[in-house]
Amino acid sequence: MDKRKIMISPVTRIEGHANITIELDDKGNVSDALFHVNEFRGFEKFCEGRMYTEMPTITPRICGICPTSHTLASVKACEMIQGIQPTYTANLLRRLMHIGQNLSSHALSFFHLSSPDFLLGYDSDPAKRNIIGIAEKFPDIALRGIRLRKFGQELSERITGKKIHIMGIVPGGMAYPLTEDNRKALLEWIPEAIETVQIGIGIIKKFMDDNEDMVQTFAPSATLYLGTVGPNGEHELYDGKLRFIDEHGNILQDQASPQQYLDFIAERSVNWSYLKYPYYKPFGFDKGFYRVGPLARLNVATKMRTPLAQAEFEIFKLLNDGKPVHGAFYYHYTRLIEALSDVEDAERILNDPQVTSLHIQHHGRWNYEEGIGSSEAPRGTLFHHYKTDETGKLLKVNLLIATGQNNPSMNRSVLEVAKQYVHGADIKEGMLNRVESTIRCYDPCLSCSTHAIGKMPMVVEVKDRNGAVIKRLERF
């Protein structure tokens, strides 16, 4: 059979390089698509032999976009090893920093990265289809997006003095308190931040109204979902229990402890990617696709924790009569609903009289050999699992990263979009962007910088089975 291939290389980044191969059958129809993630750094091995208490400082270096989520999953694993809990104020400060990271990551994903597609158009000039292009045409929106991200980053900086790879989160609590001056300065951001998120919601809703067909048919396959929820099923990012639902919204697991993650999740290494394929263990590899991240969190949640976000959540729930919403496009919408909740929640915490208390750390020591911690990174649930010897030296480290859990679905979404927009060698530049933007829906790590400050380069080659190029499309 004459098998032909389309390569999209590179498409975007997830902790490194990623590219896509689209395979065509002899009729020129898409038969398969492989999503390759091309980077590996080996944290699980090189952390062995180090003290467990170093992990909250080492593991944020896995990812510069969600370092705080790594620190939190890590510090919770350390707290399980010590058998202690953080203080009330420490929990408030951690929540603030985590909200900040979620907000800056979501702002980046929406305003820097994706808004060019919505505001300038999928088929607009690729040289301008980025935040700089937005700054030229919609300077107010670009500036607002940049400032929303800045507010998110400041939530960490004003507590620990650093925006990225923060140092102040330690087992038992926090190393630094929040000063009154910093509390006030952060509160001043709230009205502007709420307004900006609402402008974003306006943009996405208008786009969804104007492009109903596309939005609804954009990689719409059903999957299971995993997210963290509070005791009453409320949306949760920092601390809570796991909930799995099936594609109809039936609850498969509820209030499951993250410490039991191995009962629910297994993963498989595949030869075409450095990113593994996790799945819901009870259903097996073929049927156990699940997704994480904002869409998953809103699909599993019973309610939001704040009023404006709750009102928007109710509108979201109407999209599919209260059942899970599957279209990958809705990641954008749910990301903004979360951003709204982030800002409201930040305001609530900043007004808590305890937030500037100096009672920020409990002190503990090594007590148990094993620790497991989890948190909701911007892209989804994250697990850190450590085993130590009796001196606290790490014997084994297992990390289950958020983006990994969307990997099987990203791969399938790419296949779906490719099937829809690729027919033979007839490929339009706008199609490339659509395949790419499928990936961008999931916001895998460095899709950010790709679009954020430059142009996304891409080569698509249609090759025959002998590797001869039939057609080549390039974009700088």
Binding site: K45, C47, G64, L262, S269, S273, N398, I453, M456, V459
Partner: protein
């Protein structure tokens, strides 16, 4: 008026934190793009990079592909900046150097407690090949300038860029937060 410069930012073996810190210059990105076109960022893989005045390179050299990329960047860039600790001295990315590569790979893809029994090792021709040892940029090419930090502080990044884009040599002794880590 000076002619507009060309700027590239590249991500090799790092965590993207250095690029995120670059974004932390916030509104000042608009000052940068007044002086320079960002012609490549952050990806150069599989693509010819145009000639540029400045290339900021994040991360260490960890694989065959990074090796090719950094040689190419050196050829194309007038000023090559090792951007952040991973680029300068391998930092966290280099911590795997204490272990044989096979053990590092097996730990993740064969022996992880969450792995099922049916996995394969990643070895598709589309994937990069990891080098035995991670090295910093200057072990492969001549580096013109370094900005230390994990990540470097955004004010430092902006200062260095702004000076270079105005044809001045940055003086790192003038910046406030200069340190490794």
């Amino acid at each position: 008026m000076m002619s507009k410069k060309k700027l590239a930012t590249v991500w090799l073996g790092g965590c993207s934190g250095c690029h995120m810190s670059l974004l932390d210059i916030d509104e000042r990105i608009l000052d940068v793009v007044k002086l320079a076109d960002i012609v490549k960022s952050p990806i150069v893989d599989g693509k010819e990079m145009p000639e540029v005045d400045i290339a900021l390179v994040e991360g260490s050299v960890t694989s065959d592909e990074h090796f090719r990329e950094i040689l190419h960047i050196r050829k194309q860039a007038k000023t090559l900046i090792a951007f952040g600790d991973c680029a300068v001295m391998t930092n966290v990315t280099g911590m795997r150097n204490y272990f044989p590569l096979k053990e590092v790979i097996d730990t993740a893809y064969v022996n992880a407690v969450s792995n099922d029994a049916e996995g394969e090792l990643p070895n598709h021709p589309c994937l990069l090949k990891l080098n035995d040892k991670v090295v910093p940029l200057q072990e492969v090419v001549t580096v013109d300038f370094v900005i230390p930090g994990c990540p470097p502080d955004a004010d430092t990044i902006f200062y260095v860029l702004f000076e270079l884009l105005n044809d001045r040599l940055p003086d790192l002794s003038k910046v406030k937060k200069l340190k490794y880590g």
